[in-house]
Structure formats: C-alpha cells, structure tokens
C-alpha cells in the first residue's frame, strides 16, 4: 500500500525539476570556483590588512640604510626605482620585436605553413620555459658570452669587467626574452579583432600592404598592443628568478647610475626580508608593506589590462 505512494511522490519530486545528481555536480564545481576565489580573497585580505599598518609616506619615499631590517629606517624608494627602471628598459626591447612578430603572424604568414607552425611552437615553448632557466640563460648568454666579449673588445686590459657582470641592462634583456610570447599573443589577438573589411577597404583605395598595416591596422590595434605591453610589464615586475643572477643586488648605497650598474629590486627585496631577516617578528611590518607596494604596482597594471581587454573583446563581438 505504501510503495506506490512513495514512488509517486518521488516522481512528483523529479517532475518538479529537482535532480540530485545535477544539484551535486553544480554544487561541487561551484564550490571549487568559490574556493579558488576565497583563497584569493584571503591572500589579498591578509596582505592588505597587515600591510596597511606599515605603509607610510616616508616608507615609500625614502631609501634604506645599511640595516634594511630596521622598521623605523627602512624605505623602498630604491627598490621601486630599480623595478621600474628594469621594466621600462624591458618594454623598450620587447615591444618592437613582439609587435613585428605578431604582424608577421597575422598579416603575412599563411595559416598553416610549416614556418608559421614552427614560429607558433617556439612562442608557446618560450612561454613555458621556467623563469629560473631564463636566469641561467641571462647569465650564460648575456653576461658570460656577450658581456665578456664586449669587455674583451671595448675594455681590453681593464681590471674590472664593465659589461661582463650582472647589470640592469642584462636583467631587462633577460626579462624581454621572457615576456616576448606574452606580447606576441596579446598583439595577435588585437590584430585579429580588426575586421578584415577595414584592410580590404584600404587596399581597394590603392594603399599598399605596408601602408595598410602602418596607417590602418596598427593604429586600430593600439589599445590591444598596449594591453599586451602592460601585461608583460606587470608579469615582469613581480618576477624574481630571472634577475637573481643577472642584475639584482642585495644592497646598494645609491641608485644605479648607468645601465651597467646593478639595482635593488622590490620582488627580490620581499625575498630577502622574508628569508634573511634576523628577527622575522620585528621585520614583519616592513615586509608586509613592501609586499603591498609590489602588489599595488603589479595589480594596478593588471586591472588596467583586464579592463582594456574586456572592452576590446566586447567591441570585437559587436563588430562581427
């Protein structure tokens, strides 16, 4: 007597649209998503709450004394300067090469020719090379090969190497190699977002291909290209491994004066403060404050890039 009723009620339950498996599946995947975002929130929240206390105008605008672990004297200006300088130099190196490569891939190359596939494969592989290997490469190629040979030619007989030692120039070049794929991919996306009709119109009016690219395609793609540049900058600003042996200094009395000087770096400074401090409890405020400065630098850039890109994608969708 009872069984059919139970079956009926279950049927009613199902027809009302409740599906346990569906509920579980959606719940589990949703929970995974939520957990990731929660972890992100915890990390950022923890850093901001603890970092706020240590931040002060003096901290951001003053240099650091010999004892960089002293809470009352430490400042991050030299590190901010060093990080900014190496990132700006890097942008100068990487943007032209990256943009030209992307122009080749989208405007000139045939879609599936072997050479195009090899270039794409190389770009993908370059994106996956571990950052520490870039550091080794920078040391092996830029410093020990290029630098030493430059010294041999320009400063033969000099007691101290001028080029063949860690320097801001070599660090930026190493980072430029590292961020090349980022710039290429972002620029490519920007170039593909431009409707083909624009190019066709330009060509139909008698412009040559080069003129079309320089005067129509590239100006249109500028926001996207800048996004790529910004992404590269924000990625490079936080990288430490590639500059460990190619230019970052543990401590320097003044700011770097030329591109062949070493520099102090924000990310490397975070590493030093958190691992080399004689008393971690005491240095905690400046450690957190330094992390906040680094995060603000990278995130401000990141958010700009994300916004520009979202805007671009919307436009692209509207254009199709």
């Amino acid at each position: 007597l009872n069984q059919p009723a139970a079956r009926q009620s279950r049927r009613r339950f199902q027809s009302a649209g409740f599906d346990l498996a569906s509920f579980l599946f959606t719940g589990l995947t949703g929970a995974a998503t939520f957990l990731i975002l929660a972890i992100l929130a915890v990390i950022l929240g923890n850093i901001l709450i603890h970092g706020w206390a240590g931040l002060s105008w003096r901290f951001v605008t003053s240099g650091t004394e010999k004892d960089m672990f002293d809470v009352n004297k430490a400042g991050v200006l030299p590190m901010v300067f060093g990080t900014a300088a190496r990132v700006i130099l890097m942008t100068i190196f990487v943007l032209p090469v990256g943009v030209i490569t992307a122009v080749y891939l989208t405007e000139y190359a045939r879609m599936n020719s072997p050479i195009t596939r090899v270039i794409r494969g190389a770009v993908n592989n370059l994106a996956g090379v571990p950052s520490i290997v870039f550091g080794l490469f920078g040391l092996g190629f830029f410093i020990n090969f290029l630098g030493r040979n430059l010294d041999g030619i320009l400063h033969a007989g000099a007691a101290n190497p001028v080029w063949g030692r860690p320097a801001i120039l070599w660090a930026s070049l190493t980072l430029a190699v590292m961020t090349l794929p980022l710039v290429i991919v972002a620029t490519e996306e920007a170039l593909r977002a431009i409707p083909p009709g624009l190019r066709e119109a330009s060509l139909a009016l008698g412009a040559t291909k080069l003129e079309t690219i320089l005067k129509i395609v590239l100006p249109q793609a500028l926001p996207g290209i800048l996004t790529g540049g910004i992404l590269a900058v924000s990625r490079a600003a936080g990288e430490v491994a590639p500059i460990l042996f190619t230019g970052a200094a543990y401590y320097m009395a003044g700011l770097p004066k030329s591109v062949t000087d070493q520099f102090m770096d924000l990310g490397y400074h975070v590493f030093i403060l958190s691992t080399q401090s004689p008393n971690i409890e005491q240095t905690r405020p400046i450690l957190y404050a330094t992390v906040v400065v680094l995060l603000v630098l990278t995130f401000a850039l990141n958010i700009v890039a994300i916004l520009v890109r979202a805007n671009m994608r919307k436009k692209m969708r509207a254009g199709h």
């Binding site: 599906d19 569906s22 599946f25 959606t26 589990l28 995947t29 949703g30 929970a31 995974a32 998503t33 990731i36 972890i39 992100l40 990390i43 923890n46 090469v97 490569t101 122009v103 080749y104 000139y108 090899v118 270039i119 993908n124 592989n125 370059l126 996956g128 090379v129 571990p130 950052s131 520490i132 290997v133 870039f134 550091g135 080794l136 490469f137 092996g140 190629f141 020990n144 090969f145 190699v177 794929p181 060509l203 040559t208 080069l210 936080g238 430490v240 491994a241 460990l244 042996f245 990310g267 490397y268 590493f271 958190s274 971690i280 992390v291 680094l294 995060l295 990278t298 990141n302 994300i306």
Partner: protein, 391 residues
C-alpha cells in the same frame, strides 16, 4: 615578391592578388618583418645552446673534481708538451698565453702543495662529477650504507641530483593533486553551468590570481600558509614538500583553469544543443558530452600545469624548507631543482664544477618543460582540428 617572380601571379594576402609592379620597399619590409618574427625560434635555440654550453664539460665527463691528482714535479716543466701543461694547471687558452715561465713554475709548486694537503679520505680520489656519482648512490666515508647525497659545499663535494629530482617531483605531485580538481571544477562551472553574469565576475578574479607574483605567493606561504597547514595536520617541520606543493598549486591554478576553460568553451555549441534537445540535463551535457569532447584540452592543461609547477622557483624556494635530504615523505623538508639553482648559483665560481652542475640541472629542467610544452601543444592542435571537423 612581385619583383622576384614576375612570371607567376602569386596568391596574395586575404585572397587579393598582387599587381606586377615592383615595390622594393614593400618587399624589403616583408623580409624584415619575417626576419624579426624568427626571433622566438632563435631565442628558444639560444636558450638551449647557452644553458647547455655551460654544462657541456659535465655532460661529456670532462670535469674532474678528484682532490688527489698525479703531481708533476716543477722541475720537469720543460719536458711536458704545452697542451698537457695547460690542462694540468687548468688554464684557459688566453690565460696560458699571457703567463710567463715563472708564473707557470709557481703554479706548479702550488699544485704540489695542494696535493700534500689533500684530505686523508678514500673518497678524496673520486671524481664526483662523473655520471655514476651524479645518479647512483654511493657509500661515502662515515656512512654505513650507500646513499644519495647532494652536498656541494663540503670538503668532498657530493653532487647526487636524485634528491633534488625527488624533491621537485614531490612538490609537483602535491601541487597537481591540489590544483587540478579545483581548477577543473571551476573551469566546468564557469564554461558550462554559470550564468554569463557570474562568469563575467569569476574569470577576471581567477586571472587576478595569476597576476600575483610568485615571490608574493612564496612570502604568503612562508608567513601564513605554512603555520596554518601545520596547525591543521600537526607535522614536525613547518616547511616541507606538502606546504610547498599547496603553495605551488595556488600558482598553477590559473594556468590549468584558463587552458581547460578555453578547451571546454571551444566545444561547438551544436554539441550542447543536440544533447539538451535529446533531454539531457545541463550537468549530463557537461559531464558526458562537453568534457569528453574537450578531454585532450583538459589533458593539455594538466601537462602545462605540470611543466609550470616543475619550473616554478620562488614559491618552492621559500616554502619547501630547502634541506636536500633524500626522502619520499611529503612532510620532510625538501629542496627542488629550481630552488637549488636559485640558492646556490650566486655563490659558485664561474666555470667551476658546482657552477657547471647547476647548469646541468638547468638543462634537465629545460628539457622536461620543453617536452611537456611540446606535448601539450600537439594535443591542443589535434583537438582544434578535430573540433573544427578537419581530421
């Protein structure tokens, strides 16, 4: 192009045929652009070449770390050929040329002195940079059984790389076990189940996670996460492979997520519509239609995540405890390949044994990530052509 092969009308850009008029500037620009675009290939090649170059002497067994060497008396300097003398004193060509007789004589005397001071230890005569000692266990003086030991800074330098490889693997496996389920779940949710509004918020959020520099993740796991996990699981050493693995997982979640999400989204809408039309629920469609179709892409995401985890440096350097002990336990302090390079390279002598062996493990790292990238690339390429209907 037109100037070089006027006889043939070449298929031009986007189906527009080129005229016959010669345009040298255009031609030059095209060649220049092509040349620059090869830079990515050149860079990959140079990276391999110059990292491998520094490791070559070890690769071919030309290094000798033996502390006991045959001594040539300084008086016999005239008798031996210059090439042999150069090798004996360990000089480069340029150094050798610049030195006069007396310097060489002094160097030979230094050698004799050094030989007298060689430690009285049976291991002193071993060349610890040969492959046998790099890969196989050896019973060192004072140990009661053969062991894998990485101890480059000691009287007898021990360069066994197995503890480092095991350390890297341990952290990587933990990272994958932690991050792949999370990232994959999130990718399925965001690409298949979430409403567009939710998607618009979640995707940039996870992208933001990838924007956190690895040194900051390392700092966070060192200061906060390590203590939290230790409180949770009550293990002995605060920094270990487990902590490093979880921290690494945080670093690779965005990588796995974005590639898996890409693959899932690239499954044609017609698949989903067909499944829904046949009466499947949304989760059945996601689980039984979309996921199998995108499986190669998901696989590629995991491979790339592996490559990224193996190569990540700062997180492991800061969160793993950095003791190069040979142990399979997840809760022992460990040291990875990347952390070893980062921590030790600055203190090595240029061109020395330690220096070259660090480059050797760099080559190993490069090879592993190169292969995993290549595999992922291949899988993705296949997937794309399959989904586009080109077999």
């Amino acid at each position: 192009m037109a100037s070089t092969n006027t006889g043939r009308r070449t298929e031009g850009w986007m189906g527009i045929h080129r005229g016959h008029r010669a345009r040298p500037l255009e031609w030059l620009a095209e060649k220049f652009i092509f040349g620059v675009s090869l830079s990515a290939i050149v860079m990959v090649f140079l990276i391999f070449l110059f990292v491998a170059r520094e490791a070559l002497p070890v690769l071919f067994g030309r290094m000798n770390s033996s502390l006991v060497q045959k001594v040539i008396p300084p008086g016999e300097m005239e008798k031996i050929p210059p090439a042999q003398l150069k090798e004996y004193l360990g000089l480069t060509d340029r150094q050798f040329k610049e030195m006069d007789r007396e310097t060489l004589q002094t160097l030979m005397e230094v050698k004799v002195e050094a030989a007298k001071e060689a430690p009285n230890d049976k291991d002193a005569a071993l060349n610890t940079t040969s492959w046998r000692y790099l890969l196989l266990p050896h019973q060192w003086t004072g140990y009661d059984r053969p062991e894998y030991i990485w101890q480059p800074v000691s009287q007898i330098q021990k360069y066994n790389i197995i503890p480092l490889i095991v350390g890297s693997l341990k952290a990587t496996v933990v990272a994958l076990l932690f991050s792949v389920p999370l990232a994959l779940g999130a990718a399925i949710y965001v690409s298949q189940l979430a409403t567009p509004r939710v998607r618009e918020w979640v995707k940039p959020g996870i992208e933001l996670l990838s924007g956190i520099p690895s040194v900051v993740l390392g700092f966070f796991s060192l200061i906060v996460l390590a203590s939290f996990l230790q409180g949770l699981f009550h293990y002995q050493s605060r920094l270990n492979a487990f902590t490093a693995g979880i921290a690494l997982g945080l670093a690779i979640i965005p990588v796995v997520f974005s590639i898996a999400e890409d693959a899932l989204t690239s499954v044609p809408r017609s698949y989903i519509q067909a499944a829904l039309a046949l009466g499947a629920s949304r989760w059945q469609t996601a689980w039984q239609v979309v996921l199998p179709a995108a499986l190669p892409g998901v696989f590629a995401a995991v491979i790339l995540g592996f490559g990224r985890a193996v190569g990540e440096t700062m997180v492991v350097l800061m969160a793993s405890g950095n003791a190069s002990i040979m142990s399979w336990s997840l809760f022992d302090s460990t040291r990875s390949i990347t952390a070893t390079i980062a921590a030790e390279l600055a203190e090595t002598v240029f061109g020395g044994q330690h220096y070259r062996i660090l480059f050797l493990i760099g080559v190993l790292l490069f090879a592993v990530t190169f292969i995993s990238n290549f595999a992922a690339d291949l899988v993705m390429h296949r997937l794309k052509s399959r989904l586009e209907g080109k077999h």
